[in-house]
Amino acid sequence: MSDAPLSSEPADTLVPVTVLTGFLGAGKTTLLNHILTAEHGRKYAVVINEFGELGVDNDLVVDADEEVFEMNNGCICCTVRGDLIRILGSLMKRRNKFDGIIIETTGLADPAPVAQTFFADEDVRSKTRLDAVVTVVDALNFLQTLKESPEAYQQIAFADVIILNKTDLVDDAQLKAVEDAIRKINAFAPIHKAQKGNVKLTDVMDVGGFDLQRTLSTVPDFLENTHHHHEEDVNSISLTIKTPLDAGRFQMWISALLQEKGADILRTKGILNFEGQPDRFAFQAVHMMADGNSIGPWREGEAKESRLVFIGRNLNRPQLRRGFESCAVS
């Protein structure tokens, strides 16, 4: 799935789906129960895995099987969750029973197949939207987990929102070290500190992780000039262009790039200013699977510029910058 279909589904009619990831013991289920029992007047359908740590207190709970399979499109990283396609399809027949869907993944799960399911399956795509990948991080054990498990890198890299949980169990120095470690991998996702999963719901639900406005408008500048990490580590790169982009050129470039480097590029997100288009265009990709849609006009006082963020391994900054710049109208 190398081409990036630049569609424009009306985003507001789609059911928002929140994906909860995090290592075993990080506090996913506690956070989930916190979300479900909070006074928000909203109903959620919850998809859990059968190895859940705690019970989930909700009317509509579905067991998932984590059945990952490869799409037959010749692309090895194009894995999706078949069980989710079935479950979401059935849930959408009862659309009136809930306002949103929450999917809890197992601790060791790679979030890529879950996220790719929202790109790869036409039925899932036409009825739901991935609101955000929320990753719960255990402040006490995270640095150790990171040393031992490559999956932890993936979970941080894929996060749109990070909940730094159990902050009461560590001192300020360790908290700082954990935050730094997270930032090295994913420089963009907002980090919310919590104890026993007590986060503000507005930080987790309906954040529109792909309405990247907030995320991308707070891209820290230090990223632009540091290079202290090893190449094989997961890290983030942000690029900005002030000149409007040529939509056709951008599509050609990003398609070719993701086709070639999609195994290393875990996430790509952007808010783009296409020439001749009054609306902002939100672009997102998981590995090689890409999607995008118009997200309304530029806001008052907002700089009409294009921002693109990559999270992945072996990111070649000068090359990416040159490529992105070649998409500008000449």
Binding site: L60, D63, D65, F69, M71, N72, G82, K93, R94
Partner: protein, 350 residues
């Protein structure tokens, strides 16, 4: 509601429609051709008796499942139905409207199939990776068939000798006969999402996640590929003689030839469509060379493949046709839509 006040087509003179709450998940006739059932995502089963065909007010509604009713099959008994649901229950709704729970599991019961002939009667239900094969009463589990991943479809062959299940990376064929434990695995990489078997047992066909069909010639396991669809194929139906496989998934009805060496290397025949709306359901008439097709705009039409003549049953009812079935005698056609419209038409002469 976008449903027009009058529906145009055969349904005006020869049938009736009714709107209920919930997405229609399936429809089927009883073996005695006297009743037609519709299942909903609200867990209800609506049963229409042939005698009340044009009086929807007298169609009965039964609250069978807590959560969606996902699967429906005619019961082994001539007048009843079997349903499976989100609540993990396999239920019987008999001719008197009594509901009997045949089993309860933790997983959704997503597929139910039955077979009846002079020698044997079977009930099969799929839940997660397991298929349970029961006797005709449904009280005794004859076999529990384990699969490597979740089962996405089950089908008996026309003689009831074998049952096949689709799943990831292929399909599995089992003998129903109690003494045989062996399975014949048919492998093909990818996610297989539905299954159909040739009436003469010549081929087993699966629909795939990747907008195409896969098949195996059962005599030698030879692979058959049928591709070119713009979307997933969600409905397949073999013609009564087995000459054609009709499928949904395009803006026309796509038919693959299963004669003269099978569909390998041949283009499919395209029957008329509804002017661009995606075909969502197909059903071949079990007694005549006719087929019914349902579309995303809510239209249902009858097509005579030989002449390509089209007879509208119901035009542009609004939401996509999600269920479509003939009665075994080919005289009743039932359909349902995502918005909860159900329709029933009497096609018998006179």
């Amino acid at each position: 509601m976008s449903i027009p006040s009058t529906l145009r087509g055969l349904i005006e003179k020869r049938g009736a429609s009714h709107t209920v709450e919930g997405h229609i998940t399936a429809c089927a006739a009883s073996r005695d051709n006297l009743r037609f059932a519709f299942t909903t995502a609200e867990g209800d089963v609506i049963v229409a008796h042939r005698a009340d065909l044009t009086e929807p007010a007298s169609w009965a509604t039964y609250a069978v499942h807590d959560g969606a009713a996902l699967a429906l099959a005619p019961d082994t008994d001539p007048g009843g139905f079997l349903t499976g649901g989100d609540d993990g229950r396999l239920c019987r709704l008999d001719r008197h409207g009594e509901i009997e729970e045949l089993s309860k599991t933790r997983r959704w019961v997503e597929h139910v199939a039955t077979h009846v002939d002079a020698k044997a009667a079977y009930i099969a239900s799929a839940s997660g990776k397991q298929v349970e094969l029961r006797d005709g009463r449904g009280e005794t589990v004859l076999k529990t068939l384990e699969h490597p991943s979740s089962v996405t479809g089950i089908v008996f062959d026309s003689k009831g000798k074998r049952i096949a299940a689709s799943h990831y990376n292929g399909a599995s064929v089992w003998f129903t006969q109690p003494k045989s434990e062996s399975v014949r695995p048919l492998e093909w990489k990818g996610s297989h999402t539905g299954i159909a078997i040739h009436p003469g047992g010549e081929a087993l066909i699966t629909s795939m996640q990747d907008n195409d069909l896969h098949g195996w010639r059962l005599s030698d396991g030879h692979n058959i590929r049928m591709s070119g669809y713009p979307s997933k194929v969600k409905s397949m139906s073999f013609s009564r003689t087995g000459k054609w496989l009709a499928t949904s998934g395009a803006d026309v009805v796509v038919m693959w030839p299963f004669f003269g060496g099978g569909p390998m290397g041949k283009p499919p025949v395209e029957l008329p469509g509804m002017g661009g709306a995606l075909c969502t359901r197909v059903a071949c008439n079990p007694e005549q060379d006719m087929l019914a097709a349902g579309f995303a705009d809510g239209s249902v039409i009858l097509i005579e493949p030989e002449t390509q003549r089209v007879l509208p049953v119901c035009l542009h009812s609004g939401s996509a046709v999600s269920a479509l079935a003939y009665s075994p005698d080919g005289c009743l056609l039932g359909f349902g839509t995502e918005d909860g419209m159900i329709g029933l038409v009497d096609l018998s002469a006179g």
